[in-house]
Amino acid sequence: MNFDLTDERQMLQDTLRRFLTDRYTTQVRNDILSIEAGQSVEIWTELAELGVVGALFTEDCGGFGGLGFDLAVVFEELGRAGVVEPFLDNAVLAGGLVAALGDETQRAQLDEVIQGRLQMALAHGEPTTRYDLSRVNTTAVEKEESIVLNGRKAVVVNAEAADVLVISAREAGAVDDEAGISLFLIPRDAQGLTVEGYALLAGGRAAEIVLEDVTIPASARLGVSGEAFAAIEDRIAAANVAICAETLGAMETATRLTQEYLMTRKQFGRPIGSFQALAHRMSDLLIEMEQARSAVINAAGHLESDRVIRERHVSAAKNLIGRAGRLVAEDSIQMHGGIAMTQEYELAHIAKRIVMAEHRFGDCDHHLERFIALSAA
């Protein structure tokens, strides 16, 4: 057994941590949160130049990483700094699906993504699908040389900034069949496609997308008709590894801030950390941190395993991180008292990132049920 990072990943972690410590301060981030676009193009470009996007792709797509542990290293650092730029949506999800299913022409676009010049987003979930991956109501119908899409997509993160959208639609089967789902590469400004955007509570932006007779050439399809589900499930697994690692990083910041506060804040003439009631709570958080770290390692280490093993570890991690994250966020706020309730204090944003991560790709209940189902399989 060896739990050390490889030299390359260690270097990536060091570089990224140094960059974010210098460049992505609370002030810079809070300024980004207040701008209309919800993300900084400048920061995005700089991080792309640093190779952070490339680290999320495998070598055959022009990247130099792309495995579970690469995602874990990058996203833990992003989470630690509370980064709101859309690495997950742009690179892991949309970019990842193009990498998995695209033909040579389609994959050529990934160079632009890796260099930070092109943004993408995945439009998969719909208003009535909650966290179910196989439920797709949006339809795609072939008409001569073209394909016509109709439907609606919900809470598509990064939709407005994306030049290209990866959109799922059903070409065959019942509404919740795994078979029959296809993915299409569609420009955001395609005719019949409307994007209605809004800010997200924990930073960044999302949109509702309506597709009304959106007509695209058959060459816009990613991979084989009706066979996209396995790739979608695989990339959502990768996204869950990423979001678990990101949450772990955010939890580290939350516990660090809380530890510091307990040692410096004085009431009744002594540091509040000297009160046993708070000291024991802090200890519990640190215990949960170790559990959370192991859950992320388990999931990242099994991302390249066979489906059932992979999904079981991913659901286990998402469930554990959901529980531990909520505890860390809530207890960190509580132990800080009022100061953590203020928007300008670092913990406020970090706590929101932690809690709202549960709302992407399934909360701890969803993944508990999934874990049970996968264990019975």
């Binding site: 979930g125 208003p127 009535t128 699908t129 909650r130 966290y131 179910d132 439920r135 609606r152 919900a154 809470v155 509404v175 919740d176 209605e196 809004y198 800010a199 997200l200 509570l201 924990a202 999302a206 949109a207 509702e208 004085k266 009431q267 009744f268 509040i272 009160f275 009631a277 708070l278 909520r326 809530e330 706020i333 509580q334 008292g337 009022g338 953590a340 309730m341 203020t342 928007q343 300008e344 406020a348 944003h349 706590a351 929101k352 809690v355 709202m356 549960e358 709302h359 992407r360 909360d363 209940d365 508990l368 049920e369």
Partner: protein, 399 residues
Amino acid sequence: MDLSYSDEEIAFRREVRAFLQDKLPPELSGKVRAGKELAKADYEGWHAILNAKGWLAPNWPKAFGGAEWNAVQRHIFEDECALAYAPRIVPFGLSMLGPVLQKFGSKAQQDHWLPRILNGEDWWCQGYSEPGAGSDLASLKCAAVRQGDHYIVNGQKTWTTLGQHANMIFCLVRTDKDAKQQEGISFLLIDMETPGIEVRPIVLLDGSAEVNEVWFTDVRVPVANLVGEENKGWTYAKYLLTHERTNIAGVGFSQAGLAAVKRIAKSEISGGRPLIENPHFAARIAQVEIDLMAMSTTNLRIVSKAAAGQAPGVESSMLKVKGTIIRQQINDLARRAAGVYAMPFASEAVEGTNAPLPDPLAAGPVAKQYFNNRKLSIFGGSNEIQRQIIAKTTLGGAK
């Protein structure tokens, strides 16, 4: 033992309900139900409606223009108001300062200030906490030095709720630096228009602007605005805090919140079925509902005791701890129920769900409320302080 309300109490509940149905403007209850921030005029309008009926000050004696209800009546009133989504009564003048003036104020102070609280001429805010004095309130530093007929006040207060609307603030100030902490504090009434006062808003983590910092630089306050005796302010402050803790359990808020969770879970679709049919989520709802049923009775037991003239002791601390835990659990469930639609930053939206085709902001501010209500276990004496009070009283060392 009889778990039912008396005939008089039932009639009273009916009267309150009919009044709310008749007089509570639907646009106001709509705002409360949707979790929107209320404007100053919303609060003032509701106060005026209650005042016209003589119900604005349920706990005040009739002699001062109050309703003089007993604890059970007050509980029924608060319960019905919460269930009807009435705006909360702004407590600073009515529940906090009013009782203090009635017990410790001079006749002149009572005659001047109490009617103005009822008719809305004054909006009071509370100057208690300071950056360095939170749980350890007695360590406060904001200083008042007497110069002839005035006190000169210098210092800072914080977490001043709705201070942006207030024209008056009641403050705890230090008038004797050398005395024992609790024995050098006085209770002052300060006009917010006085030169040297600055109010700075604090934006909270959910984007709301409900609390403020209040800064005092050489602020001149007439000695006539001292309540009671100099350096006896801690006694009055403690008396005020016992009033702040009425309705501390917030059972009505929890009941309204739980109903909202059920509405969301009924229309949110998971696995093709309403989320409320999901055994796991149904269990979560049931668990909180079971706790709330018991909490409601715990609350009534303590309320009945108070109605019989027994002052609640540690029980109010117990109500605060358990009541706020339950309210926060309900906020957590609402957030969970909304699924992906909890993510938008919905500052002003109606509550709703993912079915059939929702407005993107339809789930409403459930996540915002979840974060905002983290304050419940922090303010009014944090839950750690409440536990300490319970422990001291039961394990010894209590005075």
